[in-house]
Each structure stands twice: as structure tokens, then as C-alpha cells.
């Protein structure tokens, strides 16, 4: 079968002021009609540039420096802009990462889709609008015909991405390029969107190029995968083969860095040390050699070509890992020895933090001057939990579920509307003035975005000294000593002190943020999505660091994340939040393996796993629908609107917390997936059973 898209030796350069970045450096790949090609790699590896090169939508200074791109045997890389416009949107559709910035906020979605149709088809305005309604219906937009007159801000994130897909599909392209289509979305919505793309591919018989950094997304959706590293293809083969038998050390290292692989054993993650090479001046040998654990002098001197024993499995490496394939597929997996898991029941630790009936409501105001209160957003509604000294509580949930607000309440960035936060047995709210400020040092916060949380006008040294100055700790010399000690702890060189935040890489900045949180020797660190902005390999470095320092310094963590795999890897206990409510909490593995709340189950099923078989097996699972508004939360159980098991009682009565094991595993559901045990009572006090 002739390939639909054939790329040969494509090279794309981006000219900067003083240098040229060779963003794509000699890649060849093809896409057959109707198949899904996954392009996977870390940020800066050239995957998005490859996608943009196909459409010739390169950023300023970018140009295709060589090679050919053939669509149906027609060379498109050298087409004039005029002719290329007929290809874009017509033969090739594209979906971008952020659906909010890709839609024009001043045009109705119907007009925007119709515009794409009118550009490529000789149709009237009415016909184009008809087509818009038709494709919106196709992408699963409820009441599509009524909603074509609405503006982008009236749609949720997931629905906006559906509009983007509809726009890309309006002219029935033969190829759809999806560049990180779900990265900005919640896992539950991500699953729905990926399913939609897959279903449309089958129905319309188009080919898809799925660009992503997430191996889990690739596992369930792609037929073939190309792994990119530093502007080149490191390995390319069918999805099944790649996941069963990766040959390139980079692919292997990517798998090893996934926290879900180590979640059961809690072993140290195998991170990839170092950073990807600078593409303005790439190394002459194998580009992965400086970070490769198997590299020899040959790797550093010679450049391996992309080849393999079989034509469908190619890799660019002199010393491939995994098993050689000579025609037949060998049995590869030596079952990794599983260290017997420590008992579910964590040794009863002294309670460090006790949160009782925490409530936070943000007022919704109207009018510029009077600011009348017209209602409130129920961000946190009656949440109770406790954290034992030296333990980690992981808090998961979709965005908007209130998990970050809980973190902010704990560190005092917001004041609770109601409820008690006691730390080491004392109520924090009762403290005032100086005492309260001094106590702040015991609970520290780690921000999600290390870039925006470090003052760009301060050197690292000044950033780390600031907490000590505020608290008035030590002389200048003592402070300096403490700062250097912290840098050693987080693995940064002392020379880092003289640098400004923008001179660090993302992982290094997060280490710096961690050092700032540690410098006051806190008891509890609230970490708000500390790794979600990082690449897998860097994420593994930071997770390892957090875990090591917890043991070394006896830290207690509250770890907030949307990523269940990360939370499970690091946590002793997991709490699941939904729309301001804590719906389930318990020992990490118990919650993960035997969830009692349907929402927890749904979250687990929605999270993509880097295993093609598992991914394809859970086709029909996951949470449906979207998060309701927190201004008017549903009556009774807040999850009932999306729950497959919901019945009448769920709308009338709010389910109490019930215990599901003697280890403090509780959940609030009328129809739980597990049988409740009668250790605790059925009242809210059940949640207290964790600490007898």
C-alpha cells in the first residue's frame, strides 16, 4: 500500500539572533492511510517542529532546510504559500494543544467551523453552517444545532477541544495531526477526547499523527510509534513491539522513569541524568551518549544510523538493549522480581496535622462598586483528614476539585471559612500575629510552577536567604552555611547561588524551589503538583529527590497532583477529592487496588497506562461527562451526575463516610464498590478511625 505521507530526511532549522537551532535533523517516516502514528519524546526533542513542518506552519525564523515531504506522492515541502493553503485544512487537519487560545473568542464556534469549510469548498454561507452543525454533532457535541451560535467561552475545556476537532475535520482531511491534543485537559476528559479521535479515524478512514510526551496515551491509541530524541528518530516500530521490547536505551530509560512501573515496589525510579543536548550545536556522536548508561567511546565518536534487524523495527544504537529479533519474536520479559510489599497498614504514626470539617467558600460578586454577593463557589466542603508524622498524604482529583485550595488553606495563603486545622495538636487559627508567623516555618509550600514562584530579579542565593531573613534566623555566615547545605541536599552545585532563575532548567528550578521549602527545616511540606510541568525523566529525578530527603530528614508531605501514578508512587495514604468533597481516603495501595468510590475507580481507569494491552482492554471504562459548576453543586452526592450507579437516594441524601477496612480506608458512597466493614460507625467519625 502506498503511504499517505512520506517524509524523507527532513531537516528544519530555526534561526535565532545569534545561532541556528537544528530542531529537526534528518528524520524519515511514513504514515499509511487509516493508521495512527504516534510521535513521542520529551519537550524540545523536535516532535512539534516535525508536525509543524508538515503543514509549513513554522514559527518566525523557522524554515525547512532540506528533505522531502510527500502527501499522496505530491511534494508539499516546497509549495508556495498559495498552493499550500489548499492543503492545509483540506487534506491535512490539525489540532493544537490549547483549545482556548486556538479559538477566536469574538466569533461563534459555528462561524469558525463554517469559515474553514468556505475556504475550501464552493458553498454558500448556509450550507457551510449546516456542515458546521453536522461536524459538531459528529464530534459528540450535545444539541449541536443550537450551540453553533455560542462563543468559545461558553464551552468547557473538553468541549472546546471537540470544537477544534470539528474544525479540523470539517473538510474531511485524509490526515489529522494532533499535537498534544489532551495535555491541557483532565484525565477523564483526555480519555473521552482520545476515544473520539480514535472513533472518528475509523469512521472517516483518515490517518492520524498523534504527537505526545505521554507514553500512556501512545500505548492505547497508536499503531506505530516513532520515539524522537534531540531532533532525530531514536526508535520506530509498531506499538506492541516497542512496549514489549524497546531496543534503544533512551526508550528503555523513558519506561524506567515512569512512576507507575515502580509504584508497587516503591523502588527508586531510574531517572535519566542530565539534560538533552543543545540543538544549536549538537554532539557529533550519538546524541543520547552523554546521558546513556551503556555509552562507549564509539558512541561518543560515531553517529549510529537508524536501522534494525527487521524492517519494521528500527533503532539508532550501536549497543541495543532488549532482545534481538531475527524473524520471530522472542520471549523477553523476565518478570521483575517484586519485593514483597510492606503491609497495607502503615505503622500508626503520631498525628502531625489534623484537619476537621474544613470549609472554604469564595464569594461570587456582582457590580464594580457595590460588590454585592450573589452566591459563592464551594471550593472545599467539609473535608476532614489527618497526616501522621513522616508520612505522605497524596491528594488527587480533577482540576477544580479543590485540592489546591486545601493546600493553600494549610499553608495560610487563604483563610478557611470554617473548620479547624490543628498542627501538632494546636489550632493554627487560634494563633495570631508573631506566633502565627513563626509557626509558618513548620509548614512550607512547594509551588507547581517553579518559574513563576521564583522572583526573576533575585539570584538563587538571595531567594534561599529570604526565608531565613524573614524569620530572623542566624548570622550572615550561618545563613550562608545553611544555604550551601540545602544546595547539597537537593543536588545543585554551589555556583548556582550566583544565577538567576531563568538560567536554570525546569528540573533544576524545581530543585531550587524544593530547597527554599526546606530551608526553614519544616515539619510538613505541602507540594502542589511539583512535577506536573516536568518531563518524565526530570520528573523521576525530582520524585527520587523528594523520597530520599523524606527519609533523610523525616519530612511529612502532602502531595497534591492530578496524576494518580505519581501520587501512588510517593504516598502512604491517598485522598480523592471531587468538587470540594473528600470522597475517599485510605492507604495508598488499598485505594488504588480496591477503590470503594465509583469516582476513584473511574479516575484509575481514565489514567493512561504505558501498556498497550491494558490500555486497549479498558476501552469502555472511565468517567463520563464533565465537572459540574461549584456555584450550584448537585444535591446529595456531588458525583451523582456522572456516576454510573446513581439512584434516587443519591440526589436526596448526602452519603456519609463509611469504613471499608480496619486500616482507615473510608469512602462516602451509597453504593460502594466494596463491602463496608463495621469497624467505625456510619457517621462522619468514621474518618477518624485512622488514628485509634
Amino acid at each position: 500500500m502506498a503511504p499517505l505521507l512520506q517524509i524523507e530526511d527532513l531537516r528544519t532549522d530555526i534561526k535565532l539572533k545569534h545561532s541556528t537551532v537544528h530542531a529537526v535533523d534528518g528524520i524519515s517516516l511514513h504514515v499509511d492511510p487509516g493508521e495512527t502514528l504516534g510521535i513521542v519524546g520529551e519537550s524540545g526533542c523536535g516532535k512539534t517542529m516535525t508536525a509543524l513542518s508538515i503543514m509549513n506552519l513554522l514559527p518566525t525564523g523557522g524554515s525547512i532546510a532540506g528533505g522531502s515531504i510527500k502527501l499522496n506522492d505530491v511534494e508539499i515541502s516546497q509549495l508556495s504559500d498559495e498552493k499550500l493553503r489548499r492543503v492545509r485544512g483540506n487534506d491535512i487537519g490539525m489540532i493544537f494543544q490549547d483549545p482556548l487560545t486556538s479559538l477566536n473568542p469574538t466569533m461563534t464556534v459555528g462561524r469558525q467551523i463554517a469559515e474553514a469549510v468556505q475556504l475550501h469548498r464552493e458553498v454558500s454561507r448556509e450550507q457551510a453552517m449546516d456542515r458546521a452543525a453536522e461536524v459538531l454533532d459528529l464530534v459528540g457535541m450535545p444539541r449541536a444545532r443550537e450551540r453553533i451560535g455560542e462563543y468559545p467561552h461558553q464551552f468547557s475545556g473538553g468541549m472546546r477541544q471537540r470544537v477544534m476537532i470539528a474544525m479540523a475535520l470539517a473538510c474531511e482531511p485524509k490526515l489529522l495531526i494532533a499535537d498534544e491534543p489532551t495535555t491541557a485537559l483532565d484525565v477523564t476528559i483526555q480519555k473521552q477526547i482520545l476515544e473520539l479521535i480514535d472513533e472518528l479515524r475509523q469512521r472517516l478512514g483518515m490517518a492520524v499523527i498523534l504527537v505526545t510526551h505521554d507514553l500512556g496515551v501512545i500505548a492505547g491509541r497508536a499503531d506505530r510509534v516513532a520515539v524522537m530524541y534531540a531532533g532525530r528518530i531514536a526508535e520506530s516500530t509498531s506499538t506492541g513491539t516497542l512496549f514489549a521490547n524497546p531496543r534503544h536505551p533512551y526508550t528503555e530509560a523513558l519506561f524506567h522513569a515512569l512512576p507507575e512501573k515502580a509504584a508497587e515496589t516503591r523502588e527508586k525510579l531510574l531517572s535519566i541524568s542530565g539534560l538533552p543536548p543543545d540543538l544549536t550545536n549538537p554532539p557529533s556522536g550519538c546524541r543520547f551518549a552523554p546521558r546513556c548508561r551503556y555509552a562507549t567511546d564509539r558512541c561518543r565518536a560515531e553517529d549510529p544510523v537508524l536501522m534494525g534487524e527487521t524492517p519494521e523495527h528500527k533503532y539508532a544504537c550501536f549497543y541495543p538493549v532488549g532482545t534481538a529479533e531475527r524473524g520471530q519474536k522472542a520471549a523477553v520479559t523476565e518478570e521483575p522480581k517484586r519485593a514483597p510489599r510492606p503491609e497495607y497498614a502503615v505503622p500508626a504514626a503520631e498525628t502531625l496535622l489534623d484537619v476537621r470539617n474544613l470549609v472554604k467558600e469564595f464569594p461570587v460578586t456582582k457590580g464594580a462598586v457595590m460588590q454585592r454577593k450573589v452566591g459563592f463557589v464551594s471550593a472545599v466542603a467539609d473535608v476532614s483528614f489527618e497526616i501522621g508524622r513522616g508520612q505522605t498524604l497524596g491528594l488527587v482529583g480533577e482540576s477544580g476539585c479543590g485540592k489546591t485550595t486545601v493546600g493553600r488553606l494549610l499553608v495560610g495563603l487563604d483563610k478557611p471559612t470554617n473548620g479547624v486545622i490543628s498542627f501538632e495538636g494546636e489550632d493554627l487559627a487560634k494563633r495570631s500575629g508573631r506566633e502565627y508567623r513563626r509557626d509558618r516555618r513548620k509548614i512550607q509550600f512547594m509551588f507547581q510552577d517553579s518559574y513563576s514562584s521564583l522572583d526573576p530579579r533575585m539570584r538563587a542565593g538571595a531567594i534561599l536567604r529570604e526565608p531565613l531573613l524573614v524569620q530572623g534566623i542566624g548570622s550572615r555566615a550561618e545563613q550562608q552555611k545553611r544555604i550551601e547545605e540545602m544546595l547539597d541536599h537537593v543536588g545543585l552545585a554551589h555556583t548556582a547561588l550566583e544565577r538567576y532563575p531563568h538560567e536554570f532548567s525546569g528540573g533544576q528550578r524545581q530543585r531550587l524551589g524544593f530547597a527554599r521549602a526546606l530551608i526553614l527545616s519544616p515539619e510538613l511540606i505541602v507540594a502542589d503538583e511539583p512535577v506536573s510541568a516536568l518531563d518524565v525523566s526530570i520528573q523521576a529525578q525530582v520524585l527520587n529527590l523528594m523520597r530520599d530527603l523524606q527519609r533523610e530528614l523525616g519530612l511529612t508531605y502532602m502531595f497534591i497532583s492530578h496524576d494518580l501514578a505519581v501520587v501512588r508512587y510517593l504516598s502512604t495514604r491517598i485522598g480523592v477529592m471531587y468538587l470540594g468533597k473528600l470522597v475517599e481516603i485510605g492507604p495508598a495501595d488499598e485505594v488504588y487496588m480496591t477503590p470503594a468510590h465509583p469516582y476513584t475507580r473511574g479516575l484509575i481507569d481514565s489514567a493512561p497506562v504505558a501498556d498497550p494491552e491494558l490500555e486497549q482492554a479498558k476501552e469502555e471504562k472511565g468517567v463520563r461527562g464533565e465537572l459540574p459548576s461549584a456555584i450550584h453543586p448537585p444535591s446529595g452526592c456531588r458525583f451523582r451526575t456522572r456516576c454510573p450507579l446513581a439512584q434516587e437516594i443519591c440526589a436526596q441524601e448526602e452519603p456519609p463516610m463509611r469504613a471499608f477496612s480496619p486500616n482507615g480506608h473510608t469512602a462516602a458512597c451509597h453504593f460502594p464498590l466494596q463491602n463496608p466493614v463495621s469497624v467505625g460507625s456510619t457517621s462522619a467519625s468514621a474518618s477518624q478511625s485512622a488514628a485509634p
Binding site: 520479559t333 513563576s452 530579579r457 531563568h502
Partner: protein
């Protein structure tokens, strides 16, 4: 999947905290001494050739106005009607004006007034506007609303009318002119800085101060002002140019500083009368006109380049 033999890479599997070798490599190799923000800001600024030329031009203008009279001393107090409207010659390089002042010397004296009033008015306006705006933005709530309504009220008055009235009521000296210009100019600055403060206040690094137990004062002094300084300085640069223009405008209307003091606008106005007199008295118009234009353009180019220089993201490249 193949299992990595234990001990395959001591760096990875070692018991110590995983150090980040990247940083060591990065900082080890070229060991470029870390440059301060000012040095890097300068290198961005220096890339803008137009701005560099403007700086040179501005220095020349300042030297001309303040050191010029030493080299080329002229009598700018007593009129000399013998020299009325004399054409440029060896002893009077740019000729004389209608009352016999040496035009070149007058350009220097007028320039002193223009520059002094321009700088002083800009500093007063920006300083007050910044404090007012930062306070308003940081406090927020009803106080902010009230303070900003005052600014709105000020901005809704047609400034030129009030300025004219004020300069008629008071005898216009340099000090009075500075005050009159600043009174209207600070409003815009206050509004701008207040907006900047509003966005800076919610930045995570400002919140981080709260987490470690720091108060509002530290947040403003250590974080908000240093991060708004780019906006402030750029605004100040433009303010100088604007003040010179306003002063020239008033001088042109005859409402500026009074004789024998002068400014460039005043000189321009004096020359205008002779524009249609048949004889070509170009030296009454062009020198003062070009001085105003060049100075203002120079300040604008410098302001543009400063904006880039203070943008940390641009320094990265």
C-alpha cells in the same frame, strides 16, 4: 522488558541523593562568571543601535546646553537692539533674535530650561505616581476604588485648559512649570503602576513571601518594586520627553517661563512672527525646532530600548 542489573550505573543507583550532573557540567566547562542583571540588560540595550545613537546624541545635547555657555559665553540678560535679527556670521554663528540675543547662546540657555524642567517634572510625576499607584494596587478593595476614582476625576479634566489657567494665575518660573506639568502627568503613571502592582501581587513569588511568614512591606519593597522597575524607568524616560513637549507647547503660547529666561518652545514662538516677513530668518525657527524634535526622539528610542533591556526573558538569548 530487560531488567537493569543492579549497579549498572553507580551514579543512578547510588545511595546518595541524585545530584544533577547537568549543572556541574554546565557550570564547570566555560565557567563564565555570572553577569549581573544590569550588565546583561546593557548588552540587550547595546544591541539597539538606534538607542545607542540616541544616548550619544542626548549626551551631546546636555553638554551643549550646560557646558556650551562656558566655551561660547554670550549675554543673555541684556538686550542689544543693534544686533536685532542679524544674520549668522563669524561672531554670531546662528545670528541673533529680534531683541539681539545671540541665537546660539539662547539655544543653550533655552535648552537648560527645557531639560531641567523636563527631568524634574518627570521625576516628580513618576515618583509620586508610582507610590500612589503601588499603594493603591497593593491595598486593594474600597481604598483602591476611592484612590482610583480620584485619578479618573483628574484625567477627565481637559489638562491644557487648566495648565493655561494655572500658568496665567502664577508667575511662571521653572519651579512653577515643573509643578504644573507634574500635577497632570502623575495621573497616568499612577494608573499604570497600579495595574502592574495588581498583577504582581498575585504572582507566586510574592505569595511565597507569605508562606515563609513575611509581611506586606517586604513583598512590596523586595519583590513588587524591583519587578515593576522596568515599567517605572521606561515610563520616566517617556515622561521626560513629554514634559519637554508640554513646556514647549506652553512656551509657544507665550505662557512658559518669562523673559529674559526662555525655553525652546518660547524661542520657536518668537521666531514665528518673522516667518512670513519676506526675509528668510531661518535661524529663528530651525535650531530650536530641531533641538526639540531630536531630544524627544532620543528619549523615545532610549525608552524603547530600556523596555527590552528590562525584560528578563529577552536577556536569555
Amino acid at each position: 522488558m530487560a531488567v537493569i542489573p543492579p549497579g549498572a550505573d553507580p551514579r543512578e543507583l547510588g545511595a546518595s541523593v541524585a545530584a544533577d550532573p547537568a549543572l556541574a557540567i554546565e557550570t564547570g566547562a566555560p565557567a563564565a562568571p555570572p553577569r549581573s542583571l544590569l550588565v546583561r540588560g546593557w548588552s540587550v540595550f547595546a544591541e539597539n543601535k538606534l538607542a545607542l545613537a540616541s544616548v550619544v546624541l542626548l549626551i551631546i545635547i546636555i553638554l551643549f546646553c550646560f557646558l556650551g555657555p562656558v566655551i561660547h559665553p554670550t549675554d543673555q540678560i541684556h538686550t542689544n537692539l543693534d544686533l536685532t535679527l542679524c544674520a549668522p556670521s563669524g561672531s554670531h554663528l546662528l545670528g541673533c533674535d529680534p531683541v539681539g540675543y545671540d541665537e546660539l547662546g539662547r539655544l543653550m540657555v533655552g535648552g537648560q530650561t527645557s531639560l531641567e524642567v523636563g527631568f524634574a517634572a518627570a521625576i516628580v510625576a513618576v515618583l509620586f505616581g508610582t507610590l500612589y499607584g503601588a499603594f493603591s494596587g497593593f491595598v486593594g478593595g474600597p481604598v483602591d476604588s476611592a484612590l482610583m476614582r480620584i485619578v479618573d476625576a483628574g484625567l477627565s479634566i481637559p489638562s491644557i485648559m487648566v495648565v493655561i489657567i494655572l500658568s496665567v494665575v502664577f508667575h511662571p518660573t521653572k519651579i512653577i512649570m515643573i509643578f504644573i506639568i507634574a500635577v497632570f502627568y502623575w495621573l497616568g503613571v499612577a494608573r499604570l503602576i497600579r495595574g502592574e502592582t495588581l498583577s504582581l501581587r498575585t504572582r507566586e513569588y510574592v505569595q511565597a513571601v507569605k508562606v515563609v511568614g513575611g509581611g506586606g512591606g517586604r513583598a512590596i519593597v523586595r519583590h513588587i518594586v524591583p519587578n515593576a522597575i522596568g515599567t517605572i524607568i521606561v515610563q520616566a524616560t517617556f515622561a521626560v520627553a513629554d514634559s519637554i513637549l508640554i513646556l514647549s507647547g506652553l512656551g509657544f503660547l507665550g505662557l512658559g517661563v518669562q523673559p529674559p529666561a526662555t525655553d525652546w518652545g518660547d524661542m520657536l514662538s518668537g521666531g514665528l512672527t518673522y516667518l512670513q516677513s519676506g526675509t528668510n530668518y531661518w535661524w529663528l525657527i530651525y535650531p530650536a525646532g530641531f533641538a526639540i524634535i531630536l531630544t524627544c526622539i532620543a528619549f523615545n528610542f532610549i525608552g524603547d530600548a530600556l523596555r527590552d533591556a528590562f525584560e528578563t526573558r529577552l536577556q536569555r538569548r
